[in-house]
Amino acid sequence: MALGTIDPQALERVRQVGGDQLVADLVQLGLDSIRARAAAARDAVGRGDAAEVRREAHALRSSAANVGAVRLARLAEQVELHADARAELHELVDDLVVESATVERALRETHP
């Protein structure tokens, strides 16, 4: 089954912990993190810094999972696993940047 952009159950679990305010704060911090980490991963690919690519993708995966961005989390995992494979990495990180923007649009719609 294809993964959707956002799994709403993830943020519902967060709501049960800390209500709507925690969800709003987590979405804001998560999107800030996703945007910054995706840009940093792309820069690190440009420099050929595999260790930094891996670290940024790992952190991005965590932020994506927190907000239920399941497809983005899966992509970040692929980047982590292929950080040393230069041929595939450029395309994977491009996909990561595109999916990050998709996640941001989706969450801005539901959590303006």
């Binding site: 912990v17 925690l22 987590l26 965590s62 932020s63 999972a65």
Partner: protein
């Protein structure tokens, strides 16, 4: 009674926010974004337990643990590995490295997190 102090060493602010929301009412949390600042502060004022992210900028969580275990002031502290690596065999690997427990991210189960912390706080001191 004063709440036990837990050091949270985690560079992602969203993860720190979640941990604060989950544990803030039961424990006093002190937060650090990297291992070096955490080690310096913990040497001055050791917490009751450390929640330690593995993938940190600069010094990794595993390196932070090695520094702690080599330091008499910190060697006995319970340390819980917190990681999104979540590969098969991770739990055993981190326990073998000397962590007292392991929590995988995203952290979704408050009861499991709290139970892990309580168990580590109540455990007997580690052998010298």
């Amino acid at each position: 009674m004063t709440e036990p102090v837990i050091a949270v060493v985690e560079d992602n602010p969203d993860n720190r926010l979640l941990i604060q929301a989950m544990l803030g009412g039961r424990f006093r949390l002190v937060e650090f974004e990297d291992g070096s600042s955490a080690l310096a502060a913990m040497r001055a004022e050791p917490p009751a337990l450390v929640l330690l992210d593995i993938s940190l900028p600069g010094m990794s969580g595993v390196e932070v643990l090695e520094h702690m275990r080599a330091d008499p002031a910190l060697a006995q502290l319970p340390v819980v590995a917190v990681t999104a690596h979540a590969m098969a065999g991770d739990r055993e690997r981190y326990l073998d490295l000397g962590f007292d427990a392991y929590i995988s991210k995203p952290i979704v189960d408050v009861a499991q997190l709290t139970a892990t912390i309580e168990r580590c706080l109540g455990a007997a001191p580690r052998p010298q």
